[in-house]
Symmetry: C2
Protein backbone atom coordinates (compact mmCIF):
# COMPACT_ATOMS: atom_id res chain seq x y z
CA UNK A 1 0.00 0.00 0.00
CA UNK A 2 1.09 3.57 -0.52
CA UNK A 3 -0.28 7.04 -0.09
CA UNK A 4 0.20 10.15 -2.23
CA UNK A 5 -0.56 13.68 -1.11
CA UNK A 6 -0.60 16.80 -3.25
CA UNK A 7 -0.39 20.13 -1.49
CA UNK A 8 1.83 22.97 -0.47
CA UNK A 9 5.41 22.72 0.71
CA UNK A 10 6.33 25.88 2.52
CA UNK A 11 8.41 27.91 4.86
CA UNK A 12 6.29 29.49 7.57
CA UNK A 13 6.99 32.46 9.79
CA UNK A 14 4.81 31.93 12.84
CA UNK A 15 4.04 34.06 15.89
CA UNK A 16 1.97 32.74 18.77
CA UNK A 17 1.68 33.93 22.39
CA UNK A 18 4.20 31.19 23.22
CA UNK A 19 7.00 32.09 20.86
CA UNK A 20 7.89 32.47 17.22
CA UNK A 21 9.74 30.89 14.32
CA UNK A 22 11.14 32.82 11.36
CA UNK A 23 11.45 29.94 8.93
CA UNK A 24 9.74 26.71 9.93
CA UNK A 25 9.29 23.85 7.51
CA UNK A 26 5.58 23.70 6.74
CA UNK A 27 2.86 23.45 4.13
CA UNK A 28 -0.05 21.03 4.02
CA UNK A 29 1.81 18.27 2.15
CA UNK A 30 4.67 18.37 4.67
CA UNK A 31 2.49 18.23 7.79
CA UNK A 32 0.38 15.51 6.21
CA UNK A 33 3.36 13.42 5.10
CA UNK A 34 5.19 13.52 8.40
CA UNK A 35 2.04 12.52 10.30
CA UNK A 36 1.22 9.74 7.82
CA UNK A 37 4.80 8.48 7.92
CA UNK A 38 4.09 6.79 11.26
CA UNK A 39 1.75 4.40 9.44
CA UNK A 40 2.74 3.97 5.82
CA UNK A 41 4.84 4.96 2.81
CA UNK A 42 3.90 8.44 1.71
CA UNK A 43 4.80 10.53 -1.35
CA UNK A 44 4.23 14.28 -1.22
CA UNK A 45 3.75 16.04 -4.55
CA UNK A 46 4.52 19.75 -4.67
CA UNK A 47 7.00 22.40 -5.83
CA UNK A 48 9.93 23.95 -3.96
CA UNK A 49 12.58 26.52 -4.81
CA UNK A 50 16.34 26.65 -4.55
CA UNK A 51 16.00 27.61 -0.90
CA UNK A 52 14.65 24.15 -0.09
CA UNK A 53 17.86 22.45 0.90
CA UNK A 54 19.45 19.37 2.37
CA UNK A 55 18.15 20.07 5.86
CA UNK A 56 14.57 20.06 4.64
CA UNK A 57 14.96 16.90 2.56
CA UNK A 58 16.66 15.28 5.52
CA UNK A 59 13.76 16.16 7.84
CA UNK A 60 11.47 14.25 5.49
CA UNK A 61 13.86 11.35 4.82
CA UNK A 62 14.32 10.72 8.54
CA UNK A 63 10.66 9.78 8.55
CA UNK A 64 10.88 7.63 5.44
CA UNK A 65 8.95 10.13 3.35
CA UNK A 66 9.66 9.56 -0.36
CA UNK A 67 10.59 12.89 -1.89
CA UNK A 68 10.84 11.87 -5.57
CA UNK A 69 7.78 13.96 -6.47
CA UNK A 70 8.94 17.12 -4.79
CA UNK A 71 9.61 19.24 -7.85
CA UNK A 72 12.53 21.60 -7.46
CA UNK A 73 12.14 24.70 -9.61
CA UNK A 74 15.51 26.19 -10.62
CA UNK A 75 15.79 29.84 -9.66
CA UNK A 76 12.54 29.76 -7.74
CA UNK A 77 11.66 30.38 -4.14
CA UNK A 78 9.57 28.10 -1.94
CA UNK A 79 6.05 29.14 -0.95
CA UNK A 80 6.16 31.40 2.10
CA UNK A 81 3.43 32.11 4.65
CA UNK A 82 3.63 34.37 7.64
CA UNK A 83 0.95 34.42 10.31
CA UNK A 84 0.18 35.46 13.83
CA UNK A 85 -2.16 33.80 16.33
CA UNK A 86 -4.06 35.71 19.00
CA UNK A 87 -4.03 34.79 22.69
CA UNK A 88 -6.74 32.12 22.34
CA UNK A 89 -4.93 30.48 19.38
CA UNK A 90 -8.20 30.14 17.49
CA UNK A 91 -7.62 32.68 14.76
CA UNK A 92 -4.59 32.99 12.51
CA UNK A 93 -4.03 36.41 11.00
CA UNK A 94 -2.09 36.13 7.77
CA UNK A 95 0.68 38.74 7.67
CA UNK A 96 2.20 37.76 4.35
CA UNK A 97 1.75 35.17 1.60
CA UNK A 98 4.32 34.69 -1.17
CA UNK A 99 3.16 31.99 -3.58
CA UNK A 100 6.53 31.90 -5.38
CA UNK A 101 6.94 28.56 -7.22
CA UNK A 102 3.51 27.49 -5.99
CA UNK A 103 1.89 30.13 -8.20
CA UNK A 104 2.89 28.23 -11.35
CA UNK A 105 2.40 24.75 -9.96
CA UNK A 106 1.26 22.13 -12.47
CA UNK A 107 1.24 18.77 -10.71
CA UNK A 108 3.20 16.15 -12.63
CA UNK A 109 3.02 12.82 -10.88
CA UNK A 110 5.55 10.04 -11.31
CA UNK A 111 4.28 6.56 -12.10
CA UNK A 112 4.86 5.55 -8.51
CA UNK A 113 2.80 8.45 -7.20
CA UNK A 114 -0.01 7.82 -9.67
CA UNK A 115 -0.11 4.15 -8.70
CA UNK A 116 -0.87 4.98 -5.07
CA UNK A 117 -3.66 3.20 -3.25
CA UNK A 118 -4.85 6.24 -1.33
CA UNK A 119 -4.74 9.86 -2.48
CA UNK A 120 -5.12 13.02 -0.46
CA UNK A 121 -5.79 16.32 -2.20
CA UNK A 122 -4.77 18.89 0.38
CA UNK A 123 -6.16 22.39 0.35
CA UNK A 124 -5.12 23.77 -3.08
CA UNK A 125 -6.99 25.23 -6.06
CA UNK A 126 -9.81 22.78 -6.92
CA UNK A 127 -8.90 22.61 -10.65
CA UNK A 128 -5.48 21.31 -9.63
CA UNK A 129 -7.06 18.86 -7.21
CA UNK A 130 -9.25 17.51 -10.01
CA UNK A 131 -6.31 17.28 -12.38
CA UNK A 132 -4.43 15.12 -9.88
CA UNK A 133 -7.54 13.06 -9.16
CA UNK A 134 -7.73 12.36 -12.90
CA UNK A 135 -4.09 11.23 -13.01
CA UNK A 136 -4.75 8.69 -10.21
CA UNK A 137 -7.60 6.70 -11.70
CA UNK A 138 -7.03 3.52 -9.75
CA UNK A 139 -7.01 4.70 -6.16
CA UNK A 140 -9.11 2.99 -3.52
CA UNK A 141 -9.83 6.19 -1.60
CA UNK A 142 -9.46 9.75 -2.84
CA UNK A 143 -10.03 12.42 -0.20
CA UNK A 144 -9.84 16.20 -0.24
CA UNK A 145 -9.63 19.21 2.02
CA UNK A 146 -10.57 22.77 1.04
CA UNK A 147 -11.20 26.16 2.61
CA UNK A 148 -13.32 29.31 2.60
CA UNK A 149 -11.08 30.99 -0.02
CA UNK A 150 -11.93 28.35 -2.65
CA UNK A 151 -15.60 28.23 -1.64
CA UNK A 152 -15.76 31.94 -2.42
CA UNK A 153 -13.52 32.09 -5.48
CA UNK A 154 -13.94 28.69 -7.17
CA UNK A 155 -17.17 27.29 -5.86
CA UNK A 156 -18.34 25.44 -8.97
CA UNK A 157 -14.95 23.87 -9.55
CA UNK A 158 -14.79 22.77 -5.92
CA UNK A 159 -18.22 21.14 -6.11
CA UNK A 160 -17.17 19.34 -9.29
CA UNK A 161 -14.02 18.08 -7.60
CA UNK A 162 -15.96 16.97 -4.52
CA UNK A 163 -18.08 14.90 -6.90
CA UNK A 164 -14.97 12.94 -7.89
CA UNK A 165 -13.68 11.97 -4.45
CA UNK A 166 -14.77 9.41 -1.86
CA UNK A 167 -14.16 11.44 1.24
CA UNK A 168 -14.26 15.10 2.23
CA UNK A 169 -12.39 16.44 5.26
CA UNK A 170 -13.22 20.07 5.96
CA UNK A 171 -13.75 22.44 8.89
CA UNK A 172 -17.33 22.42 10.09
CA UNK A 173 -17.70 26.15 9.42
CA UNK A 174 -16.60 25.58 5.84
CA UNK A 175 -19.02 22.69 5.33
CA UNK A 176 -21.76 25.07 6.48
CA UNK A 177 -20.50 27.82 4.20
CA UNK A 178 -20.25 25.53 1.18
CA UNK A 179 -23.78 24.20 1.59
CA UNK A 180 -25.34 27.39 3.04
CA UNK A 181 -26.84 25.13 5.69
CA UNK A 182 -26.19 26.05 9.35
CA UNK A 183 -27.12 22.61 10.72
CA UNK A 184 -24.03 20.39 10.50
CA UNK A 185 -25.99 17.14 10.10
CA UNK A 186 -27.82 18.62 7.12
CA UNK A 187 -24.69 20.29 5.74
CA UNK A 188 -22.84 16.99 5.78
CA UNK A 189 -25.75 15.22 4.12
CA UNK A 190 -25.70 17.89 1.42
CA UNK A 191 -21.99 17.30 0.79
CA UNK A 192 -22.56 13.53 0.66
CA UNK A 193 -25.27 14.21 -1.92
CA UNK A 194 -22.54 15.78 -4.10
CA UNK A 195 -20.87 12.36 -4.36
CA UNK A 196 -18.55 11.43 -1.48
CA UNK A 197 -19.46 8.48 0.69
CA UNK A 198 -17.76 9.95 3.74
CA UNK A 199 -17.73 13.44 5.24
CA UNK A 200 -15.49 14.30 8.16
CA UNK A 201 -16.05 17.66 9.86
CA UNK A 202 -12.99 19.06 11.60
CA UNK A 203 -13.97 21.10 14.66
CA UNK A 204 -10.65 22.40 15.93
CA UNK A 205 -10.37 22.31 19.69
CA UNK A 206 -13.72 20.52 19.83
CA UNK A 207 -12.70 17.46 17.84
CA UNK A 208 -14.19 15.96 14.71
CA UNK A 209 -17.37 14.29 13.49
CA UNK A 210 -17.91 11.53 10.93
CA UNK A 211 -20.92 11.24 8.63
CA UNK A 212 -21.49 8.15 6.49
CA UNK A 213 -24.41 6.20 5.12
CA UNK A 214 -24.29 4.04 8.22
CA UNK A 215 -24.40 6.83 10.73
CA UNK A 216 -22.55 9.25 12.85
CA UNK A 217 -19.49 9.29 15.07
CA UNK A 218 -18.18 12.16 17.16
CA UNK A 219 -14.78 12.46 18.76
CA UNK A 220 -13.71 15.27 21.09
CA UNK A 221 -10.23 16.70 20.84
CA UNK A 222 -7.56 15.40 23.17
CA UNK A 223 -7.33 17.77 26.18
CA UNK A 224 -4.01 19.62 26.19
CA UNK A 225 -2.54 21.94 28.76
CA UNK A 226 0.16 22.99 26.36
CA UNK A 227 -0.72 24.26 22.92
CA UNK A 228 2.10 26.28 21.39
CA UNK A 229 1.14 26.52 17.73
CA UNK A 230 -1.98 25.23 15.95
CA UNK A 231 -0.34 25.42 12.50
CA UNK A 232 -0.65 22.07 10.75
CA UNK A 233 -3.26 20.63 13.11
CA UNK A 234 -5.74 19.89 10.33
CA UNK A 235 -3.11 18.47 7.99
CA UNK A 236 -1.56 16.25 10.64
CA UNK A 237 -5.08 15.04 11.49
CA UNK A 238 -5.63 14.15 7.85
CA UNK A 239 -2.18 12.54 7.61
CA UNK A 240 -2.72 10.34 10.64
CA UNK A 241 -6.18 9.39 9.42
CA UNK A 242 -5.20 8.56 5.83
CA UNK A 243 -1.96 6.91 6.93
CA UNK A 244 -3.89 4.61 9.23
CA UNK A 245 -6.40 3.72 6.50
CA UNK A 246 -3.58 3.01 4.05
CA UNK A 247 -1.88 0.75 6.58
CA UNK A 248 -5.16 -1.17 6.93
CA UNK A 249 -5.56 -2.08 3.30
CA UNK A 250 -7.59 0.99 2.41
CA UNK A 251 -10.57 -0.20 4.43
CA UNK A 252 -13.16 2.50 4.94
CA UNK A 253 -15.92 0.84 6.92
CA UNK A 254 -17.22 2.86 9.85
CA UNK A 255 -15.30 0.91 12.48
CA UNK A 256 -11.98 1.49 10.68
CA UNK A 257 -12.85 5.14 10.04
CA UNK A 258 -13.50 5.68 13.76
CA UNK A 259 -10.10 4.32 14.66
CA UNK A 260 -8.48 6.30 11.84
CA UNK A 261 -10.06 9.54 13.07
CA UNK A 262 -8.80 8.81 16.56
CA UNK A 263 -5.28 8.28 15.24
CA UNK A 264 -5.65 11.49 13.23
CA UNK A 265 -6.72 13.41 16.33
CA UNK A 266 -3.86 11.86 18.27
CA UNK A 267 -1.35 13.11 15.69
CA UNK A 268 -2.94 16.56 15.68
CA UNK A 269 -2.78 16.69 19.48
CA UNK A 270 0.96 16.08 19.40
CA UNK A 271 1.47 18.46 16.48
CA UNK A 272 0.17 21.55 18.26
CA UNK A 273 2.40 20.98 21.29
CA UNK A 274 5.35 22.42 19.35
CA UNK A 275 5.91 24.90 16.53
CA UNK A 276 5.39 23.83 12.93
CA UNK A 277 6.19 20.14 12.59
CA UNK A 278 8.89 20.17 15.27
CA UNK A 279 7.00 17.75 17.50
CA UNK A 280 7.63 15.01 14.94
CA UNK A 281 11.32 15.17 15.76
CA UNK A 282 10.67 13.71 19.20
CA UNK A 283 7.62 11.58 18.49
CA UNK A 284 7.56 7.78 18.33
CA UNK A 285 4.91 5.31 17.31
CA UNK A 286 4.83 4.14 20.93
CA UNK A 287 3.93 7.67 22.05
CA UNK A 288 1.14 7.69 19.51
CA UNK A 289 -0.26 4.31 20.53
CA UNK A 290 -0.17 5.29 24.18
CA UNK A 291 -2.16 8.48 23.60
CA UNK A 292 -4.56 6.57 21.36
CA UNK A 293 -5.36 4.26 24.28
CA UNK A 294 -5.74 7.28 26.51
CA UNK A 295 -8.19 8.73 23.98
CA UNK A 296 -10.36 5.65 24.34
CA UNK A 297 -10.40 6.07 28.10
CA UNK A 298 -11.34 9.75 28.11
CA UNK A 299 -14.22 9.28 25.68
CA UNK A 300 -15.76 6.09 27.10
CA UNK A 301 -19.15 6.69 28.69
CA UNK A 302 -18.82 3.36 30.43
CA UNK A 303 -15.25 3.59 31.66
CA UNK A 304 -12.64 1.49 29.97
CA UNK A 305 -10.39 -0.42 32.38
CA UNK A 306 -6.96 1.14 32.49
CA UNK A 307 -5.15 -2.19 32.46
CA UNK B 1 -33.32 11.30 47.83
CA UNK B 2 -34.51 14.69 46.64
CA UNK B 3 -33.21 17.59 44.65
CA UNK B 4 -33.76 21.32 45.12
CA UNK B 5 -33.09 23.95 42.48
CA UNK B 6 -33.14 27.70 42.94
CA UNK B 7 -33.42 29.83 39.85
CA UNK B 8 -35.72 31.82 37.63
CA UNK B 9 -39.28 30.96 36.72
CA UNK B 10 -40.26 32.90 33.65
CA UNK B 11 -42.38 33.57 30.64
CA UNK B 12 -40.26 33.77 27.50
CA UNK B 13 -41.02 35.35 24.16
CA UNK B 14 -38.80 33.53 21.68
CA UNK B 15 -38.06 34.03 18.01
CA UNK B 16 -35.94 31.58 16.05
CA UNK B 17 -35.66 30.95 12.29
CA UNK B 18 -38.11 28.08 12.84
CA UNK B 19 -40.95 29.91 14.53
CA UNK B 20 -41.86 31.94 17.58
CA UNK B 21 -43.70 31.82 20.88
CA UNK B 22 -45.15 34.86 22.62
CA UNK B 23 -45.43 33.40 26.11
CA UNK B 24 -43.62 30.13 26.70
CA UNK B 25 -43.13 28.73 30.17
CA UNK B 26 -39.42 29.03 30.90
CA UNK B 27 -36.72 30.07 33.32
CA UNK B 28 -33.74 28.07 34.53
CA UNK B 29 -35.57 26.44 37.47
CA UNK B 30 -38.41 25.29 35.21
CA UNK B 31 -36.21 23.78 32.49
CA UNK B 32 -34.03 22.16 35.14
CA UNK B 33 -36.98 20.75 37.11
CA UNK B 34 -38.79 19.26 34.14
CA UNK B 35 -35.60 17.58 32.91
CA UNK B 36 -34.74 16.28 36.41
CA UNK B 37 -38.28 15.02 36.90
CA UNK B 38 -37.51 12.00 34.71
CA UNK B 39 -35.11 10.80 37.41
CA UNK B 40 -36.13 12.06 40.84
CA UNK B 41 -38.26 14.28 43.06
CA UNK B 42 -37.40 17.91 42.42
CA UNK B 43 -38.39 21.13 44.17
CA UNK B 44 -37.91 24.42 42.32
CA UNK B 45 -37.49 27.53 44.47
CA UNK B 46 -38.34 30.87 42.87
CA UNK B 47 -40.90 33.66 42.68
CA UNK B 48 -43.84 34.10 40.31
CA UNK B 49 -46.57 36.71 39.89
CA UNK B 50 -50.33 36.62 39.61
CA UNK B 51 -49.98 35.78 35.94
CA UNK B 52 -48.55 32.37 36.80
CA UNK B 53 -51.72 30.33 36.75
CA UNK B 54 -53.20 26.89 36.86
CA UNK B 55 -51.91 25.92 33.44
CA UNK B 56 -48.33 26.58 34.51
CA UNK B 57 -48.65 24.73 37.81
CA UNK B 58 -50.30 21.88 35.95
CA UNK B 59 -47.41 21.65 33.47
CA UNK B 60 -45.10 21.10 36.43
CA UNK B 61 -47.41 18.78 38.38
CA UNK B 62 -47.85 16.48 35.38
CA UNK B 63 -44.14 15.75 35.78
CA UNK B 64 -44.35 15.27 39.52
CA UNK B 65 -42.48 18.50 40.22
CA UNK B 66 -43.20 19.70 43.77
CA UNK B 67 -44.23 23.34 43.57
CA UNK B 68 -44.49 24.13 47.32
CA UNK B 69 -41.48 26.46 47.14
CA UNK B 70 -42.69 28.46 44.19
CA UNK B 71 -43.44 31.74 45.93
CA UNK B 72 -46.42 33.56 44.50
CA UNK B 73 -46.11 37.33 44.98
CA UNK B 74 -49.52 39.01 45.20
CA UNK B 75 -49.92 41.81 42.69
CA UNK B 76 -46.63 40.93 41.00
CA UNK B 77 -45.74 39.85 37.49
CA UNK B 78 -43.57 36.85 36.59
CA UNK B 79 -40.06 37.41 35.22
CA UNK B 80 -40.23 38.00 31.47
CA UNK B 81 -37.52 37.51 28.86
CA UNK B 82 -37.72 38.13 25.16
CA UNK B 83 -35.02 36.99 22.77
CA UNK B 84 -34.26 36.30 19.17
CA UNK B 85 -31.87 33.74 17.71
CA UNK B 86 -29.98 34.24 14.44
CA UNK B 87 -29.97 31.73 11.60
CA UNK B 88 -27.21 29.59 13.14
CA UNK B 89 -28.99 29.46 16.53
CA UNK B 90 -25.73 30.10 18.32
CA UNK B 91 -26.39 33.60 19.61
CA UNK B 92 -29.45 34.85 21.46
CA UNK B 93 -30.10 38.57 21.21
CA UNK B 94 -32.06 39.77 24.21
CA UNK B 95 -34.87 42.05 23.11
CA UNK B 96 -36.40 42.69 26.52
CA UNK B 97 -35.93 41.68 30.14
CA UNK B 98 -38.49 42.49 32.84
CA UNK B 99 -37.28 41.24 36.21
CA UNK B 100 -40.66 41.90 37.88
CA UNK B 101 -40.99 39.77 41.04
CA UNK B 102 -37.53 38.33 40.42
CA UNK B 103 -35.99 41.74 41.16
CA UNK B 104 -36.95 41.50 44.85
CA UNK B 105 -36.37 37.78 45.22
CA UNK B 106 -35.19 36.64 48.65
CA UNK B 107 -35.09 32.86 48.65
CA UNK B 108 -36.98 31.39 51.60
CA UNK B 109 -36.72 27.62 51.56
CA UNK B 110 -39.19 25.29 53.23
CA UNK B 111 -37.84 22.61 55.53
CA UNK B 112 -38.37 20.04 52.82
CA UNK B 113 -36.37 22.04 50.30
CA UNK B 114 -33.57 22.71 52.78
CA UNK B 115 -33.37 19.02 53.61
CA UNK B 116 -32.59 18.10 50.01
CA UNK B 117 -29.76 15.73 49.20
CA UNK B 118 -28.62 17.57 46.10
CA UNK B 119 -28.83 21.30 45.45
CA UNK B 120 -28.52 23.19 42.18
CA UNK B 121 -27.94 26.92 42.21
CA UNK B 122 -29.00 27.97 38.74
CA UNK B 123 -27.71 31.13 37.14
CA UNK B 124 -28.81 33.91 39.55
CA UNK B 125 -26.99 36.62 41.50
CA UNK B 126 -24.12 34.91 43.38
CA UNK B 127 -25.05 36.47 46.77
CA UNK B 128 -28.44 34.76 46.48
CA UNK B 129 -26.78 31.52 45.46
CA UNK B 130 -24.56 31.67 48.56
CA UNK B 131 -27.52 32.50 50.79
CA UNK B 132 -29.33 29.37 49.57
CA UNK B 133 -26.17 27.31 49.88
CA UNK B 134 -25.99 28.42 53.51
CA UNK B 135 -29.58 27.37 54.15
CA UNK B 136 -28.85 23.85 52.85
CA UNK B 137 -25.99 22.84 55.09
CA UNK B 138 -26.44 19.10 54.81
CA UNK B 139 -26.46 18.50 51.08
CA UNK B 140 -24.31 15.80 49.52
CA UNK B 141 -23.65 17.76 46.34
CA UNK B 142 -24.11 21.48 45.79
CA UNK B 143 -23.60 22.65 42.22
CA UNK B 144 -23.87 26.02 40.50
CA UNK B 145 -24.14 27.63 37.12
CA UNK B 146 -23.29 31.25 36.33
CA UNK B 147 -22.74 33.55 33.37
CA UNK B 148 -20.70 36.40 31.92
CA UNK B 149 -23.01 39.03 33.46
CA UNK B 150 -22.10 37.94 37.03
CA UNK B 151 -18.43 37.45 36.17
CA UNK B 152 -18.36 41.09 35.13
CA UNK B 153 -20.62 42.59 37.79
CA UNK B 154 -20.14 40.38 40.85
CA UNK B 155 -16.86 38.60 40.33
CA UNK B 156 -15.67 38.43 43.95
CA UNK B 157 -19.02 37.22 45.20
CA UNK B 158 -19.12 34.57 42.49
CA UNK B 159 -15.66 33.31 43.38
CA UNK B 160 -16.68 33.15 47.05
CA UNK B 161 -19.81 31.17 46.13
CA UNK B 162 -17.82 28.83 43.91
CA UNK B 163 -15.66 28.15 46.97
CA UNK B 164 -18.71 26.78 48.77
CA UNK B 165 -19.95 24.29 46.17
CA UNK B 166 -18.79 20.85 45.06
CA UNK B 167 -19.43 21.20 41.38
CA UNK B 168 -19.40 23.99 38.79
CA UNK B 169 -21.30 23.73 35.50
CA UNK B 170 -20.54 26.65 33.20
CA UNK B 171 -20.07 27.41 29.52
CA UNK B 172 -16.49 26.92 28.43
CA UNK B 173 -16.21 30.54 27.29
CA UNK B 174 -17.30 31.67 30.75
CA UNK B 175 -14.81 29.40 32.51
CA UNK B 176 -12.13 31.05 30.38
CA UNK B 177 -13.49 34.51 31.13
CA UNK B 178 -13.70 33.86 34.88
CA UNK B 179 -10.13 32.59 35.09
CA UNK B 180 -8.64 34.78 32.34
CA UNK B 181 -7.08 31.58 31.01
CA UNK B 182 -7.72 30.71 27.34
CA UNK B 183 -6.70 27.05 27.73
CA UNK B 184 -9.73 25.11 28.96
CA UNK B 185 -7.70 22.47 30.80
CA UNK B 186 -5.91 25.20 32.76
CA UNK B 187 -9.09 27.25 33.24
CA UNK B 188 -10.87 24.24 34.72
CA UNK B 189 -7.93 23.51 37.00
CA UNK B 190 -8.06 27.12 38.17
CA UNK B 191 -11.76 26.80 39.02
CA UNK B 192 -11.10 23.54 40.87
CA UNK B 193 -8.41 25.40 42.83
CA UNK B 194 -11.19 27.73 44.06
CA UNK B 195 -12.79 24.78 45.86
CA UNK B 196 -15.06 22.56 43.76
CA UNK B 197 -14.07 18.96 43.20
CA UNK B 198 -15.77 18.82 39.82
CA UNK B 199 -15.88 21.22 36.88
CA UNK B 200 -18.12 20.57 33.91
CA UNK B 201 -17.64 22.78 30.86
CA UNK B 202 -20.72 23.13 28.67
CA UNK B 203 -19.76 23.55 25.01
CA UNK B 204 -23.13 24.03 23.32
CA UNK B 205 -23.38 22.22 20.02
CA UNK B 206 -19.98 20.64 20.70
CA UNK B 207 -20.95 18.82 23.89
CA UNK B 208 -19.41 18.97 27.32
CA UNK B 209 -16.22 18.16 29.18
CA UNK B 210 -15.62 16.90 32.72
CA UNK B 211 -12.62 17.77 34.87
CA UNK B 212 -11.98 16.05 38.19
CA UNK B 213 -9.02 15.02 40.31
CA UNK B 214 -9.09 11.67 38.55
CA UNK B 215 -9.04 12.99 35.05
CA UNK B 216 -10.91 14.10 32.04
CA UNK B 217 -13.96 13.03 30.07
CA UNK B 218 -15.33 14.58 26.90
CA UNK B 219 -18.72 14.03 25.36
CA UNK B 220 -19.85 15.41 22.00
CA UNK B 221 -23.38 16.70 21.58
CA UNK B 222 -25.97 14.41 20.11
CA UNK B 223 -26.25 15.11 16.36
CA UNK B 224 -29.60 16.67 15.50
CA UNK B 225 -31.12 17.51 12.17
CA UNK B 226 -33.88 19.47 13.83
CA UNK B 227 -33.03 22.21 16.29
CA UNK B 228 -35.90 24.64 16.71
CA UNK B 229 -34.98 26.58 19.85
CA UNK B 230 -31.84 26.33 21.99
CA UNK B 231 -33.50 28.05 24.98
CA UNK B 232 -33.14 25.89 28.09
CA UNK B 233 -30.47 23.59 26.65
CA UNK B 234 -27.99 24.30 29.44
CA UNK B 235 -30.61 24.04 32.20
CA UNK B 236 -32.09 20.81 30.87
CA UNK B 237 -28.53 19.43 30.66
CA UNK B 238 -27.99 20.35 34.31
CA UNK B 239 -31.40 18.94 35.27
CA UNK B 240 -30.79 15.60 33.61
CA UNK B 241 -27.31 15.42 35.12
CA UNK B 242 -28.29 16.31 38.68
CA UNK B 243 -31.48 14.26 38.49
CA UNK B 244 -29.47 11.21 37.49
CA UNK B 245 -26.98 11.75 40.31
CA UNK B 246 -29.79 12.17 42.83
CA UNK B 247 -31.41 8.96 41.63
CA UNK B 248 -28.09 7.19 42.20
CA UNK B 249 -27.72 8.08 45.84
CA UNK B 250 -25.75 11.24 45.20
CA UNK B 251 -22.73 9.33 43.95
CA UNK B 252 -20.19 11.55 42.24
CA UNK B 253 -17.38 9.23 41.24
CA UNK B 254 -16.12 9.68 37.70
CA UNK B 255 -17.99 6.69 36.27
CA UNK B 256 -21.32 7.97 37.62
CA UNK B 257 -20.55 11.52 36.49
CA UNK B 258 -19.87 10.30 32.94
CA UNK B 259 -23.23 8.59 32.79
CA UNK B 260 -24.93 11.60 34.39
CA UNK B 261 -23.42 13.94 31.78
CA UNK B 262 -24.63 11.65 29.02
CA UNK B 263 -28.15 11.70 30.47
CA UNK B 264 -27.87 15.49 30.76
CA UNK B 265 -26.82 15.78 27.12
CA UNK B 266 -29.63 13.44 26.14
CA UNK B 267 -32.18 15.68 27.86
CA UNK B 268 -30.68 18.79 26.26
CA UNK B 269 -30.80 17.15 22.83
CA UNK B 270 -34.53 16.55 23.20
CA UNK B 271 -35.13 20.00 24.68
CA UNK B 272 -33.89 21.94 21.66
CA UNK B 273 -36.08 19.98 19.26
CA UNK B 274 -39.09 22.08 20.30
CA UNK B 275 -39.70 25.58 21.67
CA UNK B 276 -39.21 26.29 25.36
CA UNK B 277 -39.91 23.16 27.37
CA UNK B 278 -42.59 21.89 25.00
CA UNK B 279 -40.64 18.77 24.14
CA UNK B 280 -41.21 17.50 27.68
CA UNK B 281 -44.90 17.17 26.90
CA UNK B 282 -44.18 14.30 24.50
CA UNK B 283 -41.10 12.81 26.11
CA UNK B 284 -40.94 9.51 28.01
CA UNK B 285 -38.26 7.86 30.06
CA UNK B 286 -38.10 5.16 27.39
CA UNK B 287 -37.29 7.79 24.74
CA UNK B 288 -34.51 9.05 26.98
CA UNK B 289 -33.03 5.61 27.65
CA UNK B 290 -33.12 4.79 23.95
CA UNK B 291 -31.21 7.94 22.98
CA UNK B 292 -28.77 7.34 25.83
CA UNK B 293 -27.92 3.96 24.31
CA UNK B 294 -27.59 5.62 20.92
CA UNK B 295 -25.20 8.12 22.49
CA UNK B 296 -22.94 5.29 23.58
CA UNK B 297 -22.88 3.91 20.06
CA UNK B 298 -22.04 7.21 18.35
CA UNK B 299 -19.17 7.99 20.70
CA UNK B 300 -17.53 4.56 20.92
CA UNK B 301 -14.16 4.44 19.20
CA UNK B 302 -14.39 0.67 19.23
CA UNK B 303 -17.95 0.21 18.05
CA UNK B 304 -20.52 -0.95 20.54
CA UNK B 305 -22.69 -3.80 19.28
CA UNK B 306 -26.17 -2.55 18.46
CA UNK B 307 -27.90 -5.58 19.98
Amino acid sequence: MSLTVVGSIAFDAIQTPFGERERALGGSAVHFSLAASYFTEVRPVGPVGDDFGDAEYEALHRHGVITDDIERVEGGQTFFWSGKYEWDLNTAHTLDTQLNVFGEFEPKLSDASRDCDLLFLANIQPDLQRDVRGQCGGVQIAALDSMNFWIESARESLIQTIGEVDMVLMNDAELRMLTEEPNLVKASAAVRAMGPRVVIAKQGEYGAALFTEDGFFALPAYPLETVRDPTGAGDSFAGGLMGYLDSHGGASDDATLRRAMTYGSTLASFWVEEFGCERAEQLTRDDIDERYEQFKRITAIDSVPTT
